[in-house]
Each structure stands twice: as structure tokens, then as C-alpha cells.
Symmetry: none
Subunit: 222 residues, 2 copies
């Protein structure tokens, strides 16, 4: 199993390379987007892990290039802060999945495994938890097969909680994930309001949103 890592932060890059090699992968690493394209041109990687921000060519561009050229490589994007527009752009450009920094390394490996198992190009994998099923590509959530009608913000929040499960997600992360201007919701009680509405829609879903006083929120399987 061959993996390409494109990440300009040297520390993180080395952690990734080491960790993935320990997990039994054959890993190549570059620190620039254009180098990533060059590598993708000459080797058929199973998975490419691309940083969003890189010198040369940004990760999105690399993903978009790979998709255009029908490279057989599944793409996992790493994003530092992720605003909705960023994320959508990434998935549209051809990324198959993405991870928000900071992430748990085990989580990364799990997703890499998921990617290599999956036929390529079908879009981001569906997130399941309890009776809930969130499809990032369709941007819809079903509860035991029945369509749940969530607003955009609610969906983003739920998505974040599911992706970070079972960790606690703090308000700052929620603000960054679900709002364009992440400073805005922090001064008000909007997040609480959204949580309330989201909870109301999640009754009998096999999943519950718990409050961790002073820290944030986390998902729990009921």
C-alpha cells in the first residue's frame, strides 16, 4: 500500500511518515503542492494525504488535478481551520475525505483504511452513529432511513460532533466549523440556540448531545 504525504510543516510531516510506515504503509513525502503533482504523475498511490495550505500549489488544486487526470488515488485533505466554503470547495475539487487539524492519529489511520477499501470517486464516506446517517456529499441526514430536515448550520454542527466522536468539541471549534466568521457566534448564545434545535430533532435517534460544562459538547450513543 503506497501513500503520498504532502505537508509543509516539517514536524507534522515526520509524524505522519513515521506513523504510517509503522502502520505498514510505503510512504513518500513532499512539502510542496507542485511536487505532489509530480509524484502523482509518476506513481500510482493508493492514497494521497494533502495539506490544504502548501507552498507552490494548494492542496485543493492538487486534488482537482488528480481528479481531472483520473488518477487512481484516493485523496484525504488536511485542513487547519475549516469554514464551510473551504470544505465544500475541497470535496468538489475531488477530495474523498478530509480531516480537521488537530486530529487523532488513530483517526487518520482509520480513514486511510476506509479510503483504500472503497472504490474511488464516490464522494466522502457516510458517517454513521446510532440510527443516524450523515452523507456529506448529499448534505443530508437520515434517521433510520427517514430524511431529517436539518438547516445548514445544524448539519455542520452535527457533522463536526460525529467526526470528532467521542471527543468533546469546544465552542470555538464549532464556531469555526459552522460559521463563516467564527468570531460572531462566540459573543452570543447562537450556539446554544442551535444546539437546542438540533437536540429537538435528534430525539430517538440513538444519539444524544451531551453538554460538558465549561468545555463544550460531545456526542453520546444512547
Amino acid at each position: 500500500m503506497r501513500i503520498l504525504v504532502a505537508e509543509d510543516d516539517r514536524g507534522l510531516r515526520e509524524v505522519l511518515v513515521q506513523g504510517l510506515e509503522d502502520a505498514g504503509y510505503l510512504v513518500d513525502a513532499v512539502d510542496r503542492g507542485d511536487d505532489a503533482i509530480e509524484q502523482l504523475k509518476f506513481y500510482e498511490y493508493d492514497v494521497a494525504i494533502l495539506d490544504w495550505r502548501m507552498p507552490g500549489v494548494p492542496g485543493v488544486e492538487v486534488a482537482s488535478w488528480a481528479r481531472r487526470n483520473d488518477r487512481p488515488t484516493a485523496i484525504l485533505m488536511l485542513t487547519a481551520r475549516d469554514t464551510p466554503p473551504d470544505r465544500i470547495q475541497g470535496l468538489d475539487a475531488g477530495a474523498d475525505d478530509y480531516l480537521v487539524k488537530p486530529f487523532d492519529f488513530g483517526e487518520l489511520v482509520a480513514r486511510v483504511r476506509a479510503l483504500q477499501r472503497r472504490p474511488r470517486g464516490v464522494g466522502a464516506p457516510v458517517l454513521n452513529r446510532g440510527g443516524l446517517s450523515l452523507d456529506p456529499a448529499r448534505r443530508q441526514v437520515t434517521l433510520n432511513g427517514k430524511l431529517l430536515n436539518l438547516t445548514t448550520a445544524e448539519l455542520y454542527i452535527l457533522e463536526l460532533l460525529m467526526r470528532r466522536f467521542p471527543s468533546v468539541v469546544d465552542r470555538k471549534a464549532i464556531a469555526e466549523h459552522a460559521w463563516r466568521d467564527e468570531t460572531e457566534p462566540l459573543g452570543s448564545n447562537v450556539i446554544d440556540v442551535k444546539m437546542s434545535r438540533l437536540r429537538a430533532k435528534l430525539v430517538n435517534s440513538g444519539v444524544r448531545i451531551l453538554t460538558v460544562r465549561g468545555s463544550g459538547f460531545r456526542l453520546e450513543e444512547a
Copy 2:
């Protein structure tokens, strides 16, 4: 195997034509970018070899045109200089590969072979969904065998929705796919208008266009 060569330098053009014919290809040659577009319009080439700089229309433009019109032709660009910006521009425009002059002829043939192996040129696949059937090559749509009368723009939009099914397609992607100047439709509500008209033509088609508020549109099988 049919190849189009677009190269204004007569010496190089003749070398290419001769060499490719010897390699067993059916070769057409032109010396202007606009002529290249004309050829691409009427024949389904497997591969087009385009010089970057040409009288009439530059190679990038030709590539971009081909991409925009979903020609089933893989594109190989010939560039004199090889700077990252050039490369990116070329690849962005829709080139599938590029070669820097001067190049080895064997290298060229190898790349042409690689391009024609790709799934893309293997006949224009008809898109089916519900009772709908869209033939990209003939640019027409039938509903249960009956011809649907769609305008050009409507067809482009429907095609994109079908290709991306079941994912959400954002307005930016629609704009890029269906308009030459993709900035134009974004400031207005043209997309909404087209959607409305398209929907009207798709009643009882077994397919529906759903709005995903704030994100875009997606197709759903009814």
C-alpha cells in the same frame, strides 16, 4: 486510433505526423489553434497534441474549449518553457499531460499510449437516471424514449447534475460548467431561472431537482 496534431512549426509537425503514422495512428494535422477547434468539433479524436503557442488560438484555449464542451479527447500539451505557473495553467485548462520541448519522440509515443489507455476516450457513455437518458455526444435527452427539448444551458446543467449524482452541486460548479464566463451567472439569478425552467421540463421524468439551501442543487430519483 485517431490523433489530432496542432503545431505551427512545420518541421516539427511533419516529424510528428510521420512518426505517429508509422506507429499506426490515423493522424490529422493543423497549424492553427482555431483550426484545431474546428477539427475537434467534427471528429472524435482519441488524443490531441497541442502546441502551447500557435497562431489563432493558443493551445490552452483549445484545451479549455475541449474540456468545456466535454470532448472525449485526451489532451497532451507541448510547451517550450516549463514553469510551474505555465504547467498549472495548462493542467487547469484541461490538459491531461504535457511535454516540454525538446522531447524524445519515444517519450511522446509512450505518453500518447498512456492517454489512450485511460477510460475517458472509450466511447461517450450515455447517462441514465430515472426515465431520463442523456447522450453527451449527441447532446440530446430522451424521456422514456421521447425526445426532450432542452436548451443548451439546460442540457449542460442537467448533465452536470447527472454526472455528479447523487452529490450536491454548488452554484460555482454549475456556472463553470454551463457558462463561458463563469463569473457572470453568479451575480444574478440566471441559475435559478434555468433551474426553474429545467424543472418544468422534468415533471414525471422519475427524477427531481432538489434545492439544498445555501449549498446548491442535487438530483434525486423520485
